[in-house]
């Protein structure tokens, strides 16, 4: 990489300087560069080698309460003036917006803690291919019914990023992210089922073993064979741990600033109200060491803080940036850019204990389509998974839907398992929900 943090800081400083010279009363700017390798092995052979190298800069200018922004992939010095000029041109046409502007200067991060996010992986394509091959070999060798493969992919990347604004804030840091994934096809009696598994981490040493990823992918694909459709019914539903983050995101989407000030949320005025049963705690920890979503400051330079979003089942706070906070006459929660390292505490049960508690119902291991309405809370998605009888997995099911209303689903959350084995940006076990409509035959 021909850039380092200092050279990016220099570009940001030039952008802010140029914005001031072109008449902006406030400005913010960011620059990022990244470099990486994506390598896929399929059926034992290297299929693609992609060398990635991305760069970009963006600037937002304010003329009083008028705002304009521009971005480009061109980092040459002449692009700085042109990009600022483009942003200023936009700002001449936007309207005065009382809520527009940078975040409060008092909220800027003063200290930038080292969150241990930079662990470069010096790996060449031959070594990457060897690891991907071990992963795919383990999947293909796991079961004779694994007859085809979409391959195993190793990704490694390192990025540098700097953000600054006209309050004098300037901060940046390097991050790395590596992942290994595998997708295989199981076949039996003319039926084909595909499934996958992956691992993602800031440091290569934190990735799951290649063989373990491959075997999990194979086991999941084989487990889907013989899937049948079930009759339409109402029953309890377990959302397996890998899918439970989507339910947390459904919550977050409903308590994000834009959904609230547009009155486009089923959780309007829910602050301080019970949304979940009283044992539920949902938190975020932006400072988690090596966390996949960790960040010492948000996209506006505001210091991030660990906090509870839901405590004792009661909604403690919204998810706001400075714009939506001003629209709501509140203060930013340091969430410009989203929720970071969300977590829902487990109620203590293992996955098997959740099955035993459910007795009869559906375990969902795949969700398809959108079908989650933030305005009304109406929820209806395609699904596949397993039917449970007498507290045991009975058989795989497919081509069904699960439907309900998110508000009732949250209220009907009976348990969260301690079965999370996926280190990701969201920490959650499987969710047992009291009752949903399952549509099939």
């Amino acid at each position: 990489m021909s850039h380092d943090i200092a050279s990016l800081e220099n570009i940001v400083a030039q952008l802010l300087d140029e914005a001031r010279q072109q008449g902006a009363t406030q400005a913010e700017a960011g620059v990022q560069v990244s470099q990486g390798l994506d390598l896929t092995v399929r059926l034992g052979e290297t299929e693609t080698i992609e060398h990635t190298r991305d760069q970009g800069l963006g600037v937002t200018v304010y003329f009083g309460q008028r705002k304009g922004s521009a971005n480009t992939t061109d980092l040459r010095p002449e692009a700085i003036r042109e990009t600022v000029a483009a942003a200023c041109r936009i700002a001449r046409h936007t309207a005065e917006d009382p809520a527009a502007g940078l975040a409060d200067p008092a909220l800027m991060a003063h200290k930038i803690p080292d969150l241990d996010l930079d662990h470069p992986w010096e790996i060449d394509p031959a070594e990457a291919a060897a690891i991907a091959r071990r992963c795919e070999d383990a999947a293909r060798g796991h079961d004779t019914r694994i007859r085809n493969s979409e391959g195993a992919t190793l990704h490694t990347g390192r990025g540098l990023f700097v953000y600054g604004n006209s309050h004098g804030f300037l901060g940046g840091y390097p991050t790395t992210r590596h992942s290994l994934s595998c997708a295989v096809v199981a076949e039996q009696d003319g039926e084909m089922q595909r499934d996958y598994w992956y691992s993602s981490a800031r440091a290569a040493e934190d990735l799951q073993a290649p063989e373990a990823i491959g075997e999990t992918a194979a086991r999941r694909a084989v487990a889907r064979l013989g899937a049948r459709k079930i009759d339409t019914t109402e029953c309890p539903v377990i959302f397996h741990a890998e899918l439970a983050p989507s339910l947390l995101y459904a919550l977050f989407n409903a308590i994000r600033g834009p959904a609230l000030y547009r009155k486009a949320s089923f959780l309007l005025d829910a602050l301080g109200e019970p949304v979940f049963p009283d044992w539920v705690r949902i938190s975020e920890d932006p400072h988690k060491p090596r966390g996949l979503a960790s960040a010492p400051f948000d996209n506006e330079g505001v210091a991030t803080q660990p906090r509870d979003i839901v405590a004792s089942g009661v909604l403690q706070g919204y998810i706001l940036d400075s714009y939506s906070a001003r629209k709501l006459d509140m203060q930013t929660t340091g969430n410009a850019g989203g929720v970071r390292n969300a977590r829902i505490d487990s109620s203590g049960e293992t996955f098997e204990q959740l099955l035993a508690r459910m007795q009869r119902g559906l375990v969902v291991t795949e969700l398809m389509g959108q079908g989650s309405n933030t305005v009304t809370g109406d929820y209806s998605r395609g699904a596949a998974g397993f039917w449970v009888e007498d507290g045991q997995i009975a058989y795989p099911v497919a081509e069904i839907t699960v439907a309900g209303n998110l508000r009732q689903m949250f209220e009907g959350l009976l348990a969260v398992g301690c079965d999370n084995d996926i280190p990701g940006a969201v920490d959650t076990g499987s969710w047992l929900i009291e009752r949903m409509t399952v549509a099939g035959n």
Partner: protein
């Protein structure tokens, strides 16, 4: 200057100071004896977007993306590198990286030959300049006012306007140089309505490979505002959707997302070459009812999903996928066509220079049948009539697909009775297509809003269909 190739050459070769000699040098570096095909993809994209909310145009953005992607293919192995700096040293370095997929060897130099025999399905204009800023903003404010005037229950209106110009130049291993200048515009209106404490949303929009004047013709964009309000008000009256297997009648146009998910993705060449699609190895077989003829057509002038040439320089075409229910062919890019021993179909597309091309849809639609739409509805005793959809998704391997209705009605005794809430519909592509028993005579294409995602790459697409009846499909409502 109205020729796409000349504009693309001026933007991507002359402006950065690259000559044909430089391209020969880069291609020479990219090629070696073991390389079957290679290409250099140069791109310069400009995009401008505006958002109106709470009655004011509160933000706008101007974006420039440029770069070059270099690909070398040996057998079924691909080496790929890209650079944001379009200059000779960076291109040579990327070429050296990409060709590492094959062992080094010698190759003959290919002279560059500009292709001037290619179709031009849209004017190579820059839609950002097609209206001045005052006119763009005035249009957005008119849509806001129209939506608010349409009904007092309208609480919130968001209008977005996007204009983009994408200029590309593709040089293949034969030295053939093809250029394209692709305009694209899009307007969307979404509203929130409220009645007695109940809130619902509605959304409508459209777009084309045109200038922004497209939206002023026949008050087209005002139609989006009225349509968004109409949909939201219908949803205010909606009751719980049914759950279970039901006959489903799909309206014309955008519900064609059915075809995109149920058969479109499954007929892309890469999945079929690898044998991972539910349609693999089934050419010549009956995969749909005889009422179904489905095509992918990238040649419709000025449509969002159309391209004069695909991202590998191949002219687009109309490809018959299913004819009277029989599977006829797949959609191909160059690599998969070569490996399967067939001709490319002009479906090699990529999101940008930083992504590898793969087989993708353009405009995918079903040809009209013989039935009057009213006759189709009248044939259903108890079922669902779905006319608007959100997105969809498919599992290529099992064939299972979903698409989510955002406006639907119950059919009772052959008549549309009352609106029901949005629900996800799920089926198996190869099975559902055989259950299409009636096809209407009212083919419509969508209004120019589709975006398709595959392997993390987004490209604009179109869909369309006449009214059609599926005898049995699982409807994911809550009213058992």
């Amino acid at each position: 200057m109205t020729d796409s190739l000349d504009i693309a050459r001026a933007t991507l070769l002359d402006a950065p100071g690259l000559g044909e000699q430089a391209l020969v040098q880069v291609m020479d570096r990219l090629l070696s004896r073991q390389i079957d095909t290679a290409d250099i993809y140069l791109q310069y994209s400009r995009l401008e977007s505006w958002v109106l909310e709470d009655g004011i145009v509160r933000e706008g953005n101007h974006s420039i993306e440029q770069g070059a992607g270099l690909r070398a293919v040996a057998g079924d192995k691909t080496g790929f590198a890209y650079t944001e700096d379009i200059d000779l040293p960076q291109l040579l370095e990327a070429a050296g990286t990409a060709r590492a997929i094959a062992r080094a060897g010698q190759s003959g130099r290919q002279a560059i030959a500009s292709r001037r025999d290619l179709p031009q399905l849209y004017a190579p204009l820059n839609p950002i300049d097609s209206l001045d800023e005052a006119a763009k903003l005035a249009l957005m404010r008119r849509l806001d006012e129209a939506a608010r005037a349409a009904d007092p229950r309208v609480q919130q209106v968001i209008v977005s306007l996007v204009a983009a110009q994408d200029t590309v130049l593709v040089i293949d291993d034969q030295g053939r140089l093809a250029g394209d200048v692709r305009p694209l515009v899009r307007v969307n209106v979404s509203v929130i309505v409220e009645q007695d404490g109940r809130r619902e949303q509605g959304s409508a929009g459209g777009g084309a490979r045109r200038g922004l004047d497209y939206f002023l013709e026949d008050e087209r964009a005002l139609g989006y505002a009225r349509e968004a309000v109409r949909q939201a008000l219908v949803n205010l009256e909606a009751t719980d959707a049914p759950a279970g297997l039901l006959p489903v009648v799909l309206g014309p146009g955008w519900p064609g997302v059915l075809l995109h998910e149920a058969v479109g993705h499954g007929l892309e060449g890469d999945f079929n070459r690898k044998g991972t699609s539910a349609f693999s190895g089934r050419i010549g077989e009956q995969v749909a009812s005889p009422a179904c003829t489905v095509v992918d057509d990238g040649t419709l002038p000025e449509r969002r999903g159309s391209l004069s040439i695909d991202d590998e320089g191949t002219p687009t075409q109309q490809t018959v996928l299913i004819e009277n229910g029989i599977l006829k062919g797949y959609m191909q890019d160059r690599m998969n066509a070569r490996l399967m021993g067939v001709a490319p179909t002009g479906n090699g597309r990529r999101e940008s220079y930083a992504h590898l091309p793969m087989p993708r849809m353009t405009n995918t639609y079903m040809l009209p049948g013989e039935h009057d739409p009213q006759e189709i509805i009248a044939s259903v005793e108890h079922g669902l009539y779905a006319v608007n959809f959100g997105g969809g998704q498919v599992d290529i391997t099992s064939g299972k697909f979903v698409f989510s209705a955002s406006e639907a009605y119950l059919i009772e005794n052959g008549k549309i009775t009352r609106p029901v809430k949005g629900a996800t519909l799920i089926g198996s592509g190869p099975e559902v297509m055989t259950r299409i028993s009636m096809v209407g005579n009212d083919l419509q294409l969508d209004s120019g809003v589709g975006t398709c995602g595959k392997d993390g790459q987004s490209v604009p697409v179109g869909v369309g269909q006449p009214t059609l009846k599926i005898d049995e499909l699982t409807v994911g409502g809550t009213a058992a």
